[in-house]
């Protein structure tokens, strides 16, 4: 049986004697007898060797694709070696929320640096120390905009369905109305939005690029939203906005997004990282942890959890959110990633994604019967119309390639990143060409 309890039988005896009881069970004297458990129906404990073989066997039941052309919210990007090397330091892995600032300056400073990098990236003023993922960040952002008069949340239909579903759940929780703004040719229907924006609307959430990969005219939509007196929330791909007009430039009040592309593995969907930034005006509404710069009693620069008056452990039912648990390691992962890439590397990544997606789209659409579904500019993802998406995807799977996400029988959402070499793309296109013959 495996165990991480260091104490020996003799030591337990000594401890019981000190306490003044005769068995450990005596310490459970307040547990009603009728519900005390006899035996857990679990397998027997195992040695480390056995556990490792069990778990390795499970890992081997998964298929690791050699090339991946699927995104849709989880992106296959290169993770520099320095990232894991830094974030696997035991101190960083095992430290908790830095309540004791004096012995936590390392993790506090790393969060402050993360907040700064994310603010730089989005072009907004302030950031929190991260949220669970991009979807819950979007939902929290919508909650930030609510006031007594304005309750309704508008969400573009062209957003990631998992994100939409999450916002919807949060809104239903808080009894907040939510309406979906329809999509037209792969982008938010501007006219519809315009009509839906009334004095009850608190905010509008759109994605950039959107779920279909399209780069919408965010500035334009933002102006509409602001004219109606609502807040403008952008959900953005963190690498894309190093190249594209950033949320700050588009006039966003809040920018959120899925931080997974910044150094986190695909990992069957988590842990990922929600980032969240806003204008100065909204900083006191930001949920979750925020680290701020201050000084210690000797005037030395130092960092501390701040604005805690918003938080649940002080405000309880009046808190701005219940977000609590620490995501510092994921935030640090993103920071080390951005430090390793630097501004130039981030832009290079973005450019590689864009160029390779463009090349792949061009090659795919050179196949008779396949064409791009939408006409706007795109970044790393695009949708093709094609005969029988299942045939295509099965043919690719047979060769160890994960094709795009089937949206329906006749359309596929493809994703191409810096991880896809020209050779991989060409090979994928050839297989598709054969499959649709």
């Amino acid at each position: 049986m495996g165990s991480y309890v260091p104490s020996t039988q003799q030591e337990r005896r000594r401890m019981l004697d000190t306490i003044g009881v005769s068995t450990i069970d005596d310490l459970y004297c307040q547990v009603p007898k009728e519900v005390k458990l006899q035996n857990l129906n679990l397998p027997q404990g195992k040695s480390e060797l056995e556990v490792r073989s069990c778990m390795e066997a499970l890992a081997q039941k998964n298929m690791q694709f050699t090339s991946i052309f699927r995104g849709a919210g989880a992106y296959h990007h290169y993770i520099p070696a320095i990232v894991k090397s830094v974030t696997s330091k035991e101190e960083f892995v095992t430290a908790y929320t830095p309540y004791q600032a004096e012995i936590s300056q390392g993790v506090l400073q790393s969060i402050f640096e993360f907040q700064t990098m994310i603010s730089q990236l989005t072009g907004l003023d302030a950031a929190n120390a991260s949220i669970y993922d991009g979807a819950s960040a979007a939902a929290e952002a919508a909650a930030m905009c609510r006031d007594r008069k304005r309750q309704k949340v508008l969400v573009s239909e062209a957003v990631n369905p998992g994100v939409l579903s999450t916002i919807r759940t949060y809104c239903e929780g808080a009894n907040t109305p939510l309406e979906v703004v329809p999509v037209n040719d792969g982008v938010t229907d501007k006219q519809a939005l315009s009509q839906m924006l009334d004095e009850t609307v608190s905010c509008f959430y759109m994605e950039y690029p959107n779920f279909y990969g399209q780069i919408e005219d965010a500035t334009d939509l933002g102006e509409l939203v602001h004219q109606a007196g609502a807040k403008f929330i952008m959900g953005c791909h963190p690498i894309a906005i190093s190249l594209l007009k950033c949320p700050g430039e588009c006039g966003a009040d809040i920018a959120v997004g899925e931080g997974q592309p910044l150094g986190m593995p695909l990992a069957f969907g988590g842990p990922y990282l929600g980032f969240m930034t806003c204008t100065q005006a909204m900083v006191r509404r930001l949920p979750g942890r925020i680290v701020g710069e201050t000084v210690d009693l000797q005037g030395k620069r130092a960092y501390v959890l701040t604005l805690q008056a918003r938080e649940q452990h002080i405000r309880r039912e009046k808190a701005s959110s219940n977000v609590c648990s620490n995501q510092a390691l994921c935030a640090m992962t993103a920071s080390v990633y951005m430090a390793a890439m630097g501004s130039a590397g981030m832009r290079q990544t973005a450019k590689l994604c864009m160029s390779k997606a463009s090349y792949a789209a061009g090659e795919l659409c050179s196949i008779p019967g396949i064409s791009q579904k939408f006409k706007g500019p795109y970044f790393n993802e695009f949708v093709t119309r094609c005969p029988s998406s299942q045939n295509i995807l099965c043919a690719l799977e047979e060769k160890g390639i994960l094709g795009g996400l089937p949206l329906d029988e006749e359309s596929i959402l493809w994703c191409v990143t810096e991880m896809n070499s020209k050779k991989q793309i060409d090979q994928m296109v050839e297989i598709v060409r054969e499959a649709v013959k």
Binding site: A59, T94, T116, A135, G270, T294, G342
Partner: protein, 477 residues
């Protein structure tokens, strides 16, 4: 310490990506970013040194005793990390076809089966990413349940005043009104007050048991029955499950829904090693579970349940913090049937031992055996010598011990809540007891020295008020 931006130098960097091997596409000017982008430009050697500096100013479990009450800072076994890093888990896309992700699905399936057994629940979702996220999810299940029965008047959640702050905050997020009930003298639920509070508007009760003063509520069956009888449901906040797993199950105590903190009870790191707050429920709530629930066919293949029309939807994208679940499953397989109980028993033993070693000096407001943690009150010392819980905590920093949780629960004045966990040896506990005792003596002899603490840390007490008044959450370039 320099900030990483202060180590940056235009033109430096790492060589991570290759040149483009397809025709380069330019972003058209109207959609191009013009805003400057100040990310660090820094060589790998300096990244390594920067984070080494930060590491040296970060106290982890590997640095020493970390009895932070209510947080269960137990040791995080290394095998868990190795398993979670296997490419066969870390490189799997969440939207791969199910037949190519059978290993991941089986992980979720097994974890659900074992955790349901431990909690006495029937089903479980792993979507919630943290404890509070789980509370929110669990409360939405309760809400959906009442709604499905047309029982829409049930809008109130009863929360004892000793509860974690997340409980009322989550209740509000889920659209409920919070009814606070005061605790009795023993820190437990005041049965009388509870009876007065329940009624036709009661959606449910949220309870931590053992509670936040470290006491197992002996009236637990009475409590849950009272709520059930009034038509409400019982929510178990699993934050303190480490005291009782293998000993008694929330499901058997009358709870209908429970969240777990895998990063507390199941040895997956908190660090930032992000959390996981799975929610288990009884059959009556299963139809409302969030999307992405794993199903197992008779032939042993795994898949996802068809979307339920009554599901509460999603609380995040995909299926939760999968790699955290991998670590928790690794831990459960390691401990197994007897080990789970052994862990709980020794968590309780360690807490009682440390309490016994200190109770002649420190005021213990609650008598009798504690569970996995205990609360001290520094109120007498404050009255006598002006030394606060904060002072004691800061003095501990100079001894390399992470202080207990300060000023929680709110119902105890000048509280320090210590949770040693089962992974500490008697040597460590004896060392800590010695330190606590010395500091107590120091408080009597030289109170000022405690107001001055810490003296050996890289920075001393911080100006928190200034930080909040003029928030500076980013570096100014």
């Amino acid at each position: 310490m320099k900030l990483i931006f202060e180590r940056s130098q235009e033109g430096r960097g790492c060589s991570i990506l290759p040149a483009c091997d397809v025709p380069e596409v330019d972003c058209s000017p109207e959609i191009s970013r013009k805003a400057p982008l100040h990310l660090p430009q820094i060589a790998e050697v300096d990244i390594s040194r920067h984070y080494t500096e930060l590491m040296k100013q970060t106290h982890g479990v590997n640095d020493g005793f970390y009895p932070l009450g209510s947080c269960t800072m137990k040791y995080n076994p290394k095998i868990n990390e190795e398993i979670a890093a296997l490419p066969g888990f870390s490189k799997i896309h969440p939207l791969q076809p199910s037949h190519t992700a059978q290993g991941c699905l089986e992980v979720l399936g097994l974890a659900e089966k074992y955790l349901c057994e431990i909690t006495g629940m029937d089903h479980m979702t792993f979507q919630p990413a943290a404890g509070a996220h789980g509370e929110f999810t669990g409360l939405l299940l309760i809400k959906a349940y009442h709604k499905s029965r047309g029982d829409t008047a049930r809008t109130k959640i009863i929360v004892p005043d000793s509860a974690h702050g997340t409980n009322p905050a989550s209740a509000v997020m889920a659209g409920f009104t919070v009814v606070n009930i005061p605790s009795g003298e023993d820190g437990c639920v005041d049965l009388e007050k509870l009876r007065q509070a329940v009624g036709e508007d009661t959606a449910g009760l949220m309870l931590t048991n053992p509670n936040t003063v470290g006491i197992f509520d002996k009236n637990i069956l009475e409590i849950t029955k009272t709520v059930h009888d009034a038509g409400g449901l019982n929510y178990y906040d699993g934050a303190n499950l480490n005291a009782v797993m293998g000993v008694v199950r929330p499901g058997d105590m009358g709870f209908d829904v429970v969240h777990l903190n895998l990063h507390k009870t199941f040895s997956t790191p908190h660090g930032g090693g992000p959390g996981s707050g799975p929610v288990g429920c009884k059959e009556l709530l299963s139809a409302f579970l969030p999307s992405g629930h794993v199903s197992c066919e008779e032939d042993g293949t795994y898949g996802f349940d068809a979307p339920s029309p009554r599901s509460i939807g999603s609380v995040k994208n995909f299926y939760g913090n999968f790699l955290v679940v991998v670590k928790a499953l690794t831990y459960i397989l390691t401990l197994g049937r007897e080990g789970i109980k052994e862990a709980a028993q020794n968590a309780v033993l360690n807490a009682n031992y440390l309490m016994a070693r200190l109770s002649d000096l420190y005021d213990m407001p609650y008598a009798g055996p504690c569970m996995h943690e205990f609360v001290m009150s520094l109120e007498p010392l404050k009255k006598e010598k002006g030394v606060t819980a904060m002072d004691i905590a800061k003095a501990l920093l100079d001894h390399g011990i992470h202080p207990p949780t300060m000023y929680f629960p709110l119902i105890v004045h000048e509280a320090l809540m210590a949770e040693p966990t089962e992974t500490e040896s008697i040597d460590t506990l004896d060392g800590a007891a010695q330190t606590f005792r010395e500091i107590y003596q120091q408080a009597l002899d030289n109170p000022q020295s405690l107001h001055d603490a810490p003296v050996s840390t890289p920075v001393r007490r911080l100006d928190e008020v200034g930080a909040a008044r003029n928030p500076k959450p980013t570096y100014s370039f």
